[in-house]
Amino acid sequence: MLASNRRNLAIFFLVFGICLTTFAVALNVGWILLSLEQIALLVFGIIFFALIITGLILNTVFLFREIRRNEQHDAFINSVTHELKTPIASLRLYLETLKTRETDEEQRQKFYDTMLADTDRLHRMVEQVLFAGSTGDRRRRLHLSKIRLNNLLQDSNEAVRRRYGLDKTALDLQTDGEVRVRGDAQELQIAFTNLLDNAVKYSNAEVHVAVKVENVSEKQVEIQITDSGIGISQGELKRIFRRFYRVPGRAAQKVKGTGIGLSIVQAIIKKHGGRILAKSAGEGLGTTFIVRLPKA
């Protein structure tokens, strides 16, 4: 069924639910007026109608939530389809170009670099989707070891810097001595790379991301990732960790994404006994992600 048909049908049922609720309230008021003199009937009627009205309201609210969830799901499928097919299209285009056209050595090398970047992108997207599928699995086990946090953050910085072709000053890492955490190195790498990738993606033309590591107590370390990007309004700060959720508004929608990155990050940090929160002074004023992890 077409999305527009589905939306029309959903709107019809929403309006239908609201009309039924209004009708039930009107009946209830009528019943009260008619039965004022018969207390038993009045009480029975009020309870009965109250139950019907509650049922109708709950039904409408759940319907509305389901519609929203479906729309987010559709948007996710569209983004993933786009993110998978675009690098494949690019790879195919360059392979066909190399096969059918005369190219000089310099051009060929440039094409190979583009193709490698496309395969990296494809690999990241596949990993992200597979990982998102496994985060809900409670039996998922971590491969724990003692990790040097500074090295891990340095590696994530380097990966993101290379991905976007940024110079060294764009991503600044400030450490607080050597800190070790106990965790799954691969998963923590995914989490911090995701956060840094977001910080760069949602930055304006000039990228400046500060990563600060601080020993907040004997047991905990705090990592702050601050960008000077498009920011997030107060109302959206809690919603951004929901799976498939994407911040509405033109500035955020200009950046492509699937809406699963931050939900993956939160799942990883929670699994490691830590917590994550986001702070922003508002739209256009940058964002800070604060991660707290237990030390090893």
Binding site: L93, E96, T97, T100
Partner: protein, 235 residues
């Protein structure tokens, strides 16, 4: 020949530019819809064809196509879609695109489609009617459709037709008096061979009726044949 590639994926855009240049076309890249609209609407830069991605940051491809058509820019549009579902394709045609290609695509097919688009105006001008005379211009009920420059004149009023509107109209005029099914229109006019929703055609017919009929709510020329399709009657 000058072609605009509206594509936010730099690698894909550069690959397309390389190949279009190699074919002898002058190519320009717009990384998003806003840049494309600025180029054509504000800077008044003219292009012979436009390659337009749907999923663009900010304004999407559908909106770009609709804005261009509304502003009277009728350069043929080849739409690129990653999703490739019938809904996207039909929505693209409704917003004014002339052809589509699903990603990933074959380079040879992409280049053939571009050549086809550039040729299509000529093709529309020179197409030989199959059954009834559908000349470069066709007149009825005080209205004249000029297939050469895609214009419909009604008294002093002139309406610009998109390539697809003109193609659909020509198809119906060629089969004047006969009922043409929606499926046939999809296959012959849009070249879609899917068992798909045909309501996009209905929207095109509504638009054409607004141009052609004295009272679009009571059509006398573009008639609906219930459950089947449409029939064109000259008088």
């Amino acid at each position: 020949m000058k072609i605009l590639v509206v594509e936010d994926e730099q690698s894909l855009a550069e690959g397309l530019r390389f190949n279009l240049n190699a074919e002898g076309y002058e190519t320009k890249i717009a990384p998003d819809g806003e840049t494309a609209l600025t180029l054509m609407l504000s800077d008044k830069e003219m292009f012979d064809a436009i390659v337009l991605d749907i999923m663009l940051p900010g304004i999407d491809g559908f909106e770009v196509a609709a804005n261009l058509r509304q502003a009277g820019i009728y350069a043929p549009i080849l739409m690129l879609t990653a999703r490739g579902n019938a809904e996207d394709v039909l929505r693209g045609f409704e917003s004014g695109a002339d052809d589509y290609l699903s990603k990933p695509f074959e380079l040879t097919i992409f280049l053939a489609r571009i050549r086809g688009l550039l040729r299509r105006r000529e093709w529309l001008k020179n197409e030989m009617p199959v059954e009834k005379p559908a000349e470069d211009s066709f007149s009825f009920n005080g209205k004249t459709i000029n297939f050469q420059n895609l214009e419909l004149k009604s008294g002093s009023e002139t309406v610009r037709l998109t390539l697809m509107e003109a193609k659909l109209l020509r198809h119906l005029i060629n089969k004047a008096g006969n009922t043409v099914s929606r499926k046939e229109i999809l296959e012959d006019v849009w070249e879609l061979h899917e068992d798909t929703d045909t309501r996009a055609i209905d929207n095109f017919i509504v638009r054409l009726r607004r141009y052609l009929e004295d009272d679009p709510t009571r059509p006398k020329h573009l008639l609906t044949v219930r459950g089947i399709g449409y029939r064109f009657l000259k008088s």
